[in-house]
């Protein structure tokens, strides 16, 4: 088993249109590095200056990672990660 990552529409250009992909790692940070290895360019859309971008929401098993350790959030086989851009504006 691996970790399933749901990819939002706006980032599917990096995944050949796939709505979800599999990745590996023991923390969210490692998962994102693993995603980057297979889908170059995606990391820059998620991370800025070493932290998650302000208007990108990431959930591990339905928990917003901002409340569970951000990039250090532990993950394991069978977990589901959802990436959703914030819906926001002025």
């Amino acid at each position: 088993m691996a970790i399933e990552v749901r990819i939002p529409t706006i980032l599917r250009t990096f995944t050949d249109g796939a709505k979800s992909v599999e990745a590996g790692g023991t923390t969210l940070n490692e998962v994102i590095d693993n995603l980057e290895a297979n889908h170059p360019g995606i990391k820059d859309r998620l991370i800025d200056g070493g932290d998650l971008r302000r208007f990108v929401n990431v959930y591990v098993n339905d928990e917003d990672v901002r409340f569970t350790g951000s990039l250090e959030t532990p993950v394991g086989d069978g977990d589901q990660i959802v990436i959703l851009p914030a819906v926001a504006g002025g």
Binding site: F55, L84, G89, G90
Partner: protein, 138 residues
Amino acid sequence: MLSLSRDIYEAIVAHAKRDHPDEACGVVAGAEGSDIPSRHVPMINAAGSPTFYEFDSGELLDLYKQMWANDEEPVVIYHSHTATEAYPSRTDIGLANEPGAHYVLVGTRDHGNSPGPVEFRSYRIVDGAVTEEPVELV
């Protein structure tokens, strides 16, 4: 062009008037690929602000999970401008992340919470480019 049912139009306008002077926000979901907005989902503005809106993070996840389960997508994403023109702000354009959606702006500056006309305008926002489109009530 955005085709929208009169009932949903009225519900969006009522939401915008109710939340004035804070910005109101929400989506109208529809079957994937149909371009038909059929299910109105008013959202909480977690920013609770007259100049900014942001869907609550937990509600956002619930919304998308429902849409995935129903094979839906956000056909319309709307919010209100309560003191300025119903035209996408620079922030709106920078944060527009659903290239397939109709971005609706409701302007409540003229009548606020009271009855009376509002601005109701629709746009496509793709790669930072804004294109206004007609709105047809059906």
